[in-house]
Symmetry: C2
Subunit: 155 residues, 2 copies
DNA sequence: GCCTCATGTCAACTATGTTGACTTGAGATT
DNA sequence: AATCTCAAGTCAACATAGTTGACATGAGGC
């Protein structure tokens, strides 16, 4: 089964380039994969996956966020949020309490264990970025940020 | 339901930055989304989705590719490939024939209709990249390529 | 006491992927 | 010619990640 490749389409495929920008297009694909690969492997070892990480990531940066706001930030339905969120609560990676005022909304926070997992998973991603930035220097990094901002703001 | 946001987590969330590289990390996420958003919408109108586009993209750049090689390049199982591939054959966006020699492998090719859809979908993605590159100039684009290559080669 | 609204939950569905087990059929080997 | 190998095709069961729709609960505001 493994003739020229190692595993899972990870090898930047040797495809003919039909357009000038095909290389860039493929780089976005493999870049996304490259950044998330190790983090996903780490999360899988913890019995978690990317949706759980996204929740942990957001709650880490918005302590006391409500469920409704979390749904908005993540861009998924509350039903889709429900299962991964409950798993994180059961595993005590998150806590939810109602505040004295605003008693209607629940406030989510990371526990220490949750913070640790969020940090390690995100660190895998940040280390990949760090290594790449180091390799190209500050000007290259600035160029990267500029391009990515332009693409992201494309909405 | 829509209070401060428009749709689906598309608004680059205002999250506190816990690390220097958090901004870059989020840019990768929103950049990926930004590049694929319009292409996905176009594909959905055609009753297709990203897996179908990936198949069309690869076959366009490797005419006469075999199913086994396609499985390798895409990094999915042949069973996972089976359904989207059959849909593309049924819709006559792809053809498969056995060659006179190498009679065991099937050779995949795009039809004209398939080529048209592949081009339009990929064009949506390339136009987003083009606009971003134009906005930052050649040096920024070069920096972007350098960083993305470093990340992609992270394997 | 009622209305609103955030939250929680249940069910049914779609899509995309996995593994495992098997059949089919062409080519090569003996 | 009989047999073996291997690409391809297919079926079943399952996991994950999402959707929509419907409805229950419970706190706060009026």
């Amino acid at each position: 089964m493994a003739k020229t490749s190692q595993a899972a389409g990870l090898h930047r495929a040797s495809l003919a380039k039909l357009h000038e920008l095909d290389a860039a297009l493929e780089l976005m694909y493999y870049g996304w994969r490259g950044m998330t690969l190790e983090a996903d492997a780490y999360l899988a070892k913890q019995g978690l996956s990317r949706p759980h990480h996204r929740i942990l990531y957001v709650v880490a940066r918005r302590p006391d966020i409500s469920i409704g706001s979390l749904v908005e930030v993540l861009g998924i339905s509350k039903q889709a949020l429900n299962r991964p969120l409950n798993l994180l609560l059961e595993r005590k990676l998150l806590t939810s309490k109602r505040s004295p005022e605003q008693h209607r909304s629940k406030l989510l926070r990371l526990t220490e264990a949750g913070r640790r997992i969020e940090q390690r998973a995100s660190d895998h991603e940040r280390q990949v970025l760090r290594a790449a930035f180091d390799r190209v220097g500050a000007s290259g990094a600035a160029g990267w940020m500029g391009v990515m901002e332009a693409i992201a703001d494309n909405s």
